[in-house]
Symmetry: C2
Subunit: 249 residues, 2 copies
């Protein structure tokens, strides 16, 4: 006698599972995961760039991107013969960060190649996380602002009056209230400690880039703190040179 039908059909299909699983499956592939982590920089990438970044053929990248767009994780824009993809919205970005934060308790870190190790170290030092700052520097800023009573973690993370003044002194406008929370903790993927996200986290990061406190490294989402940035963050937040300088190991 033939073995019974692979699945009792009714018993599974009407479960609540599939929705969740279909989203998770999109992130369950190493290549697609690499794409999504790259897109966490908040910018739009082309299929070719992503393919090169992940080390797969362009045709493979196309297939993955189609799946991610169809699944609602990515948004796309077509311009002439170019296609640009980016994360669909910041809810997706948060989801990916959360997922990464749950990941294995440190993969023992020993990277295969020297350049890979440098890249990894640069990302751990300072990077953008979608639209705000993360890494050792991002966490250090959050810590310093907490220590100076510029932000308060009781009753939800929020700016203190002193914090509002601090931003005003730097000529950073507080974004108008929208559905997006003004200030929100984001669990840092490398540090396992929270840094500042939300509209104000984003404004701070945008200002830091515009004012030249930090600069992107190549096309990655790693950033370095410029001399001007070091001076300013030292003066305004008491951050030490050591924290603001990439580990030269």
């Amino acid at each position: 006698m033939a073995r019974p039908a692979r699945r009792p059909a009714a018993s599974r299909a009407d479960q609540e599972g599939p929705g969740l699983a279909s989203v998770a499956r999109l992130l369950a592939d190493g290549t697609r995961a690499t794409f999504c982590l790259a897109l966490l920089d908040g910018r739009a990438w082309t299929p070719t760039e992503l393919a090169r970044h992940a080390g797969v053929a362009p045709s493979t990248a196309t297939e993955h991107l189609n799946a991610l767009v169809t699944g609602g994780l990515l948004a796309e824009e077509r311009q002439g013969r170019h296609r640009y993809v980016r994360l669909a919205d910041q809810q997706i970005a948060e989801l990916i960060e959360n997922l990464a934060a749950v990941a294995p308790p440190r993969p023992a870190t020993a990277a295969r190649t020297l350049s890979a190790d440098n890249r990894r170290r640069a990302l751990a030092h300072a990077r953008t996380c979608y639209d705000h700052l993360a890494g050792q520097v991002g966490v250090a800023i959050a810590d310093a602002m907490t220590a100076r009573d510029l932000v308060d973690w009781n009753r939800g993370l929020h700016l203190t009056p002193a914090g509002e003044q601090w931003l005003a002194d730097l000529a950073i406008a507080i974004p108008p209230t929208t559905k997006r929370p003004a200030l929100r903790p984001c669990l840092d993927w490398t540090e396992r400690r929270p840094h500042l996200a939300g509209a104000i986290g984003a404004a701070l990061c945008a200002h830091a880039l515009k004012a030249g406190w930090i600069r992107r490294v190549g096309t990655t989402r790693a950033v370095i703190v410029t001399p001007a940035g070091r001076e300013l963050l030292g003066a305004r937040l008491g951050l030490s040179e050591a924290v603001l300088t990439p580990d030269p190991h």
Copy 2:
């Protein structure tokens, strides 16, 4: 000539992807996803219960549970010939809820069988989400507390003084401050709108169960509002009968 090595090896393995992907892969299977959603009720289940719930053989359930435990998503406890599994911590629970919230824009809802449809409707009406209340009732409570200025969404979600008094009147103790946020919005998976989570959300739910405002339906995480609960929520929050009664359709 043989085709080149499946993957250029170096180009991929040292990427940041795998960590994220390995976690996502655990949730990418329908059966494992069904397990995790069941475990969102915050209780410990046995492999046999989960196998029956998901419609698979016990041996299959064992394999999945081993994977989930090894991956850190579940915690287990052994007692004699029994094994109990539960979600590892509430960070995992949040991750799963977030993932479910991103899932497809409603699977057109038409359930296969009558009982499945009733189950679905009961869950959509009111359920526990790990350790707090969700569903139409959970969202309605959040809305009512907002309308009555018991909670404030500016500068992060938090209780107002009136909210503290309101809890005190009901003899609900505010849990001591810990690393866990006191009050936190949790995006509702069916309503797509936030309900109340965090330590206070959990305390409220625990109290509601203990005081008999709500009661679990069988062994699912669906709950119904008792007559006593209807009266109390009507009096204290102005919730209407209609909201508190499951859709009888």
